[in-house]
């Protein structure tokens, strides 16, 4: 094309409206500098496509895969047809003879105004953002939120700060901002029925003032989200979703509600309510001094939910145990969040309180063997594989994913999530490192961390079922091909009887 200047020349002949002429026969014009870009996403020039064809990748499918033509953000909307015309010219055939690769939505071209428009990157911040900044938060992205990964303290390394935050929760008290969790209110006479259909567990029979773990599946029985479902009133539920899943889950619940036509209504209060977890052996004593709620074991037992005033702000308090200690998840309107946080912080400081970030929370929950949806599960993981059969009520007449679960249950799991401890004290694998058994891939590490509390490196791994039994020894292919030995162990790693979160007692 560089030598044939006639290509691309316009025609003076009028074209009748009914004439089929979808586009120019050959759209590439010779450029003096010799760089004729075809695909602006992938930086592909005409010569790249010519070379691909000469290498033998001369069908539309092969050309696309070899050159990555059309695989960028615009998905070929501006480059695909041009690339085919170039290939047709190289092969001296008509475009129609080449055939098309599979087109995916959107089928129409991307308007130039969108490509030329401004790019924006909006970040969500919790109402406590300024408090975190003042406390020395080191930020990390979590979906479109920014969250404190940990809090810097003068003289401490990152690892030391995280360890100290963990230790504060295990021995005294810690405070973490969990406002990024999705938060949904559900009202109406058929609210319990709705949850029974939408989630795998049973909720119509949940007592008022109590909470229950919620596991959400898709139609194929795959775990897509989880959270805690509380019942503040007979016709009122309040529940959380994962941080990353909040918008998707709410949209799906709205769709299901429209589909089923039940007498209930959903309200998304994710951004309108803040939440923090106040956890540790000293949490009850400190919180009791700030609230009109009776936090005594009899009146506010493990897994209970109560509404009352904390530091003068109306709050919903859930006694849950994600980090494995006596703890209270406190939900308040966003406008009152900074005040309540500060009051809790100041009341806790004499007791050794430390604010803790996402990294400490990940380790604390790992010590308890609690899974994180999307990290310890993937796009194929069902509750049987994740060890979450206990959260599924198969006796219900219907719930989303139930039919698939019946099939999956009869088939048996293809993999199982198991706890592991690394036998080499000096070395540790990373998340996503593969488990190798007799030369074949037999699983992968989904979570791993060094636990100072337990004095060893622990993790969760998705394993082939024969390897997932406690006591099995597995080999993990770590960086550089180094093989690390690990043993499968029962979870929780820490406080297996759950005594600390249930009654605040020492394990």
């Amino acid at each position: 094309m560089r030598s044939e200047t006639s290509f691309g020349a316009g025609s003076a002949a009028p074209i009748e409206r009914s004439t089929r002429r979808p586009s120019h026969p050959f759209p590439i014009f010779a450029h003096p500098a010799g760089k004729n870009f075809v695909d602006f996403d992938e930086d592909l020039q005409v010569k790249d496509l010519e070379n691909a064809a000469q290498e033998g990748f001369d069908s539309s499918e092969l050309l696309k895969r070899f050159s990555t033509l059309g695989m960028g953000p615009s998905q070929g909307k501006h480059s695909h047809m041009n690339g085919l015309r170039i290939l047709a010219r190289v092969r001296r055939v008509r475009v129609e003879e080449l055939g098309l690769t599979t087109f995916r939505p959107m089928y129409h071209p991307v308007p130039l105004k969108l490509l030329a428009g401004r790019g924006f990157n909006i970040e969500r911040r919790t109402p406590l953002d300024a408090r975190h900044r003042a406390l020395g938060a080191v930020w990390m992205p979590a979906g479109n939120w920014r969250r404190p990964e940990y809090y810097t303290v003068a003289g401490e390394s990152r690892e030391q700060s995280i360890e100290a935050e963990v230790e504060a929760v295990r021995t005294q008290v810690g405070l973490i901002d969990v406002s990024t969790l999705g938060k949904i209110e559900l009202y109406g006479p058929q609210a319990g029925t709705f949850l029974d259909r939408a989630y795998a567990g049973s909720y119509a029979n949940l007592k008022v003032g109590m909470t229950r773990y919620g596991l959400m599946l898709d139609e194929s029985g795959v775990i897509v989200d989880d959270g805690v479902i509380a019942r503040p009133g007979a016709e009122r539920f309040y529940f959380t979703t994962t941080t990353g899943g909040s918008a998707t889950v709410f949209r799906e619940l709205l769709r299901l509600n429209a589909l089923w036509g039940l007498d209930c209504a959903l309200v998304n209060v994710t951004g309108h309510r803040a939440a923090f977890n106040f956890a540790g052996p000293a949490s009850r004593e400190i919180l009791q001094s700030l609230t009109d709620l009776d936090l005594g074991e009899a009146s506010f037992p493990y897994l209970a939910a109560r509404e009352g005033s904390i530091a003068g702000v109306q709050a919903r308090v859930l006694r849950v145990g994600f980090v494995g200690e006596l703890g209270y998840e406190i939900h308040v309107p966003a406008s009152g969040a900074a005040h309540v946080w500060q009051v809790l912080y100041e009341a806790g400081r004499p007791h050794g309180l430390r604010p803790f970030g996402v990294e400490a929370q990940r380790l604390l929950r790992l010590e308890k063997g609690h899974l994180i949806v999307g990290q310890d599960t993937d796009g194929l993981t069902d509750p049987f594989e994740a060890g979450a059969r206990w959260a599924v009520s198969m006796k219900k007449p219907f719930f989303v994913g139930q039919r698939s679960l019946k099939i999956l249950e009869s088939r048996g799991p293809r993999q199982k999530l198991a706890g592991i401890e690394v036998l080499d004290a000096a070395r540790a694998p990373k998340e996503c490192h593969l488990v190798i058994d007799r030369g074949a891939i037999a699983g992968r590490v989904t979570s791993v961390a060094r636990s100072r509390t337990l004095g060893k490196t622990i993790g969760l791994a998705m394993l082939a079922p024969p390897l997932a039994e406690p006591g099995s020894e597995i080999r993990i292919r770590a960086e550089g091909g180094e093989m690390l030995a690990a043993r499968v162990v029962a979870v929780p790693f820490y406080d297996p009887g759950n005594l600390r979160q249930r009654a605040g007692r020492a394990a």
Partner: protein
């Protein structure tokens, strides 16, 4: 016409409610609710009150007098049948002045200039990817727009929008120190 301005000052009180009997309940409480979805009304009597109907059965109320909504909020807390409270802790702001439609065209897919103000429309759309609620106000030659969005998007949205306003020669007012 006034200069282009982003005003983020906000002292208003807000209340949200939804449910199959929400419209009926509002009427019984003496609040004239808009008859059509996605429209707003401003009852002439009492403190300045905006009532927006967000759909068949959801309403959003804003009053500049903090006490104006107190009695309604108390009545709502009694859990009337078929009426459910919607917590509104929105981030609110106002856009006005010369060039406001040029700015809106950069951040939003709705043709605000083409809106019929007589119809008292409530717009629910995306602004820079953030779900916003918008109510146009003022005369056709001096329009201003009131916006509300999820408060966790507020800081980032106002920073982004503020940079654009400044680029267009406008000012930002109402920011806390």
């Amino acid at each position: 016409m006034s200069a282009l301005c982003l005003d983020v000052a906000d002292t208003a009180a807000r209340l949200g409610l939804k449910g199959p009997r929400a419209a009926e309940w509002l009427t019984a409480a003496g609040v004239a609710a808009p008859a059509r979805a996605n429209t707003w009304s401003c009852p002439p009597a009492g403190p300045a009150l905006l009532v927006a109907r967000l759909g068949a059965s959801e309403f959003f109320l804003e009053a500049h007098d903090q006490g104006a909504l107190a009695s309604l909020a108390a009545a709502l807390a009694a859990e009337p049948a078929g009426v459910y409270p919607v917590l509104r802790e929105d981030f609110a702001f106002r856009l006005s002045g010369t060039g406001v439609h040029d700015v809106l065209a950069q951040v939003c897919n709705v043709d605000f200039a083409g809106l019929d103000l007589e119809a008292q429309p409530v717009i629910m759309t995306l602004m820079i990817g953030v779900a916003v609620l918008a109510v146009p106000d003022g005369r056709n030659d001096a329009r201003q727009y009131r916006f509300w969005c999820d408060p966790t998007f507020g800081p980032s949205l106002s920073e982004t929008l503020g940079a654009l306003i400044v680029e267009y020669g406008g000012t930002i007012t109402g920011e806390s120190a």
